[in-house]
Symmetry: C2
Subunit: 255 residues, 2 copies
């Protein structure tokens, strides 16, 4: 490969690792992986010995909108091509316990990779193995590093499509900038402090109006402050509460 090709390839893969699936048996799992790729900003699907992907079959049925791009654009490659052209990261549920064997040790978790991959600029492929047995020891021996999802010791083996989904979810920070997710920048907006203070003033007025025992008022006000304090009230919530409390305070006495 010429230096120009190398540079072009390096550039193309800079922010988005490829996803490789080796010897999948179920078209549905390939579709599920394609969908997760599109959900989390991955584009380049590589298939080694794939099952037939019938446009009217399960692969396309499970792929959601990835049926329009990720799945039809998938490339069939050999395992040799994979290990020769990519830094390969093999995903497996079963690791070795320590350095008496290096086939599956040391390993990283997807969260470890999420911290490290964005700092590396080179073609990288996340490699997932076939259903049931995953990647073989022979395949893992040729793969550059090992990744394993922490799961219950009682049953740590995820379904292929689910394992890829979790891994791609965890690695979304490699492919998606914060402003490229569907979520608004802020998860919460806290009302301005003067608004919050007016809420407490309105509560104090209501406590007086309902003749809440004076000796209990301080403690009650403290409780209210704790409740609203950890709820991070929005401005609209605070204003609505103030309005309701004002009406409760100001309503004509019944007798």
């Amino acid at each position: 490969m010429s230096t120009d090709d190398s540079n072009a390839e390096r550039q193309a893969h800079r922010t988005s690792p490829a996803v490789a699936v080796v010897d999948a048996q179920s078209p549905g799992n390939v579709g599920t992986i394609a969908r997760a790729m599109k959900n989390f900003g991955f584009e380049d699907l590589l298939l080694v010995d794939p099952p037939e992907l019938d446009p009217d079959g399960e692969a396309y049925g499970f792929a959601g909108h990835a049926r329009e791009d990720v799945l039809p654009n998938a490339t069939e490659v050999t395992f040799d091509h994979l290990v020769e052209n990519y830094h390969t990261i093999g995903c497996t549920a079963v690791t070795n316990e320590d350095d008496r064997s290096h086939v599956r040790f040391p390993f990283s978790t997807p969260a470890d990779l999420a911290a490290r991959l964005p700092t590396v600029e080179a073609p990288t492929a996340l490699v997932f193995g076939r259903e049931r047995v995953g990647l073989t020891n022979e395949e893992l021996a040729r793969i550059d590093e090992i990744c394993s999802i922490p799961a219950s010791a009682e049953y740590p083996v995820l379904n292929l499509g689910q394992a890829a989904t979790v891994t791609l979810y965890e690695l979304r920070s490699v492919t998606l900038a914060d402003d490229e997710t569907q979520l608004p920048d802020l998860e919460r907006v806290r009302a301005p402090e003067p608004t919050i203070d007016r809420l407490y003033e309105q509560w104090a007025a209501l406590l007086e109006e309902i003749n809440h025992p004076p000796e209990k008022r301080e403690k009650t006000m403290r409780m209210l402050r704790r409740v609203y304090g950890r709820a991070d009230l929005t401005e609209r919530e605070a204003n609505t509460l103030i309005g309701l409390l004002r009406r409760a305070t100001e309503r004509p006495a019944e007798r």
Copy 2:
């Protein structure tokens, strides 16, 4: 419900939130969710208006080992039962942008919940809605809080089974202690420093033996230190390298 019942229920759910699926259409998705529950240490599956779960059908086919417990132990409940007995957390791909609407705002991400849920002791249910439309606004209005998975703005809608898998993966710390995962305590073991030092000494001997230019040796040794330093060599790797380098150093000169 009596106080005794309340206490018993509170106790039972202390560390493991229930997982509720509302009006799922596909038995396969219910099976996928059951499998993810078992993978990440959840036990209590609640089904509102479930599809038929034929023991020979897709639900059991997709459930893996969860076909032995989580799935057959699932409880059919009403939506009313759910909101009356649990702190409900509704999962949705689509949030509101700000506090002009509170149906889907404020929200938490699964990672936010993972930080907060372990500190709360009360019956909690993670609620997932039907395929395609998810939870309706009417359902979300009755649910206590909102959770949303960050995904690509281009296509943020995960498949039901995949959304539950990601959420349960992220919340595994609520149900699984560190020593309850399949992974060994340590992901890496770094060789003792004296062993690493012997590796560098062996390299220095080899550089001398192969007549590496003396003025380059310091720089070369620094490069080697950087390479091995960030690789966190295991003791076995370090000893194997030392042995190989010793044999390269000590082999008879060819002429």
